[in-house]
């Protein structure tokens, strides 16, 4: 399989503080890659660097196109959707308007309407609350909305930043089922950042383990899941 996203020697910093020290990884077309690591390892920054939301150096290619010099909105227009840390919903706008914004760059109105219905089918709770202000949704519903909004872009690549954070186990399960379905049915490649390593390794096919801005271990998700010493020392379960 060819790589959809390829990252080579990625560096990133916030002001004077270097956070990523030469990261390399790839997401296969149609694959699910997960990036694991403790707090402060640089997981969120990695996603932000891919999208150009933080100052970065290195080589990032999306389906053969260099994107490491592009602005966030241009990267998004190439088909990269990002569900950021903290969800990033438009709190004062309605659920429906949030979804419409997700499809902002698309011009195919009929298809957009069909996709909106599909999101409501994935998450019936959103349909019930489509006229409500997004800021008044529960945490789980907001996460559903953030994921739906990202999917409205019809992305090639979906970046997910800790989608399980703060959610009830049942909601998390539901969400991950949908991630799998999106990946299988729509061939959307996923790059998943998670603290919940057990969960992430179950759905992913490749995993990278980050420690203070460097990849320390990488390989097929299954191998890492089965490697007890890695699990004990890095993943803590």
């Amino acid at each position: 399989m060819a790589a959809l996203l390829e990252v080579r020697d990625l560096h990133a910093q916030y002001g004077p503080t270097q956070v990523l020290h030469g990261l390399s990884f790839a997401v296969e077309a149609g694959g699910i890659t997960t990036i694991l690591g403790a707090n402060g390892a640089g997981k969120t920054t990695t996603l932000r660097a891919v999208c150009g939301m933080v100052k970065r150096q290195g080589e990032v290619t999306l389906a053969g196109t260099r994107i490491d010099k592009l602005a966030t909105e241009s990267i998004v227009r190439l088909g990269v959707a990002h569900v950021p840390d903290g969800r990033g919903t438009f709190a004062a706008l309605s659920v429906e308007e949030n979804l419409r914004l997700g499809a902002y760059t698309r011009r195919d109105k009929v298809e957009v309407a069909a996709d909106t219905e599909r999101m409501y089918a994935y998450f019936p709770r959103l349909k019930e609350r489509c006229k409500q202000q997004a800021g008044l949704l529960s945490g789980g519903e907001q996460q559903m909305l953030a994921v739906s909004r990202a999917l409205m872009l019809r992305p090639k690549l979906l970046l997910l930043d800790e989608p399980s954070f703060g959610l009830a186990p049942l909601v998390v399960q539901e969400l991950f089922e949908i991630f799998k379905e999106i990946n299988r049915r729509d061939r959307v490649s996923l790059l998943l950042v998670e603290q919940n390593a057990a969960l992430a390794l179950k759905v992913a096919d490749r995993a990278y383990l980050l420690e203070t801005g460097r990849v320390v271990i990488s390989g097929p998700a299954e191998d890492i899941r089965n490697d007890e010493s890695v699990r004990r020392s890095y993943l803590g379960y």
């Binding site: 998004v76 990033g88 945490g139």
Partner: protein
């Protein structure tokens, strides 16, 4: 005060209220998009009015000059955002305030330098006789009120029902998430400035027949517009318009009862009063977020 006089004051209050409403609306446009209060808004409106005047001096018919001026003011707003405001985007609030005050002084002197400080008459597009034979309100007052309401309706439809309007609201609220859905946030802010410029130009052209055209014609009006924006809520376009009419009527009625010297005081009392009692204004959003 007789009833007749009272009704007359209310109507002429509504007429000047329409002007305050437009300028307040322009302030709200920029505040919503950037959380900046544009102190130079009145001067930009004044300068646009001079542009309209020059076009008419050159022989252009009124409405052609009107629409061309609105278009020029829109472009001017966009250019000012790109060239002057953009570089101080991340500067501390005090620097931004100073930039706006600088802009105010520059535009004011520029107008004086180019067009001189002599007061010029400015034509009204509406007939000199009152419409429908009424005794209370002149055609120009009625006409400028109508134009304010038309502008407000167009803006309402634009923000509520068009994708671009939605994108502008989104960019104002959450720039980072807006970039993540592909909105070019920088251009949305410039567009906000453009709209403010256009609305200001309309207000300037509408008020000029009453106050006459001169470089300082907007200074008092800007103060009332601030009062209007605050009364209505600085982040609510509808509130700004209602605030404009409230301020206009209050100012006129109080002026008639207590004497015209106290007119400007009304604006100041309103500004202080609103900030003390209800800082978000009548319609300003008090944001509720569940965490």
């Amino acid at each position: 005060m007789t009833l007749d006089l009272f009704i007359h004051q209310v109507f002429s209050g509504l007429a000047s209220g329409g002007i305050y409403a437009s300028v307040a609306l322009a302030l709200v446009m920029i505040y919503q998009a950037t959380h900046h209060v544009n102190f130079a808004q009145g001067e930009l409106a004044m300068f646009s009015t001079y542009i309209a005047w020059s076009l008419m001096q050159a022989g252009m018919p009124y409405w052609a000059a009107f629409f061309l001026t609105v278009a020029i003011a829109f472009v001017l707003g966009v250019v000012i955002e790109r060239v002057i405001v953009r570089p101080v985007e991340n500067a501390p609030i005090l620097s931004v305030v100073i930039v706006f005050i600088g802009l105010l002084v520059i535009v004011n002197s520029l107008a004086g330098w180019i067009f001189s400080y002599t007061i010029k008459p400015f034509p009204s597009p509406f007939p000199a006789e009152p419409l429908f034979g009424n005794r209370y309100v002149s055609s120009h007052e009625l006409g400028s009120m109508a134009i304010t309401l038309v502008v407000l309706s167009i803006l309402f439809v634009f923000f509520r029902f068009t994708p671009l309007g939605l994108a502008m609201r989104a960019a104002a609220q959450n720039p980072e998430s807006s970039r993540l859905v592909g909105i070019r946030v920088g251009w949305m802010l410039a567009l906000g400035w453009g709209l403010a410029g256009a609305i200001g130009a309309i207000a300037g052209v509408m008020v000029a027949p009453t106050v006459f055209l001169e470089p300082n014609m907007m200074s008092g009006i800007l103060l009332y517009a601030f009062a209007a924006a605050l009364v209505g809520g600085i982040d609510s376009p509808g509130g700004a318009v209602l605030g404009g009419f409230i301020v206009g009527v209050l100012e006129n009625v109080v002026g008639a009862v207590l004497g015209t010297e106290l007119k400007l005081t009304v604006a100041l009392v309103l500004i202080v009063g609103v900030l003390v009692v209800r800082p978000s204004g009548l319609f300003g959003k008090v944001h509720v977020t569940r965490v």
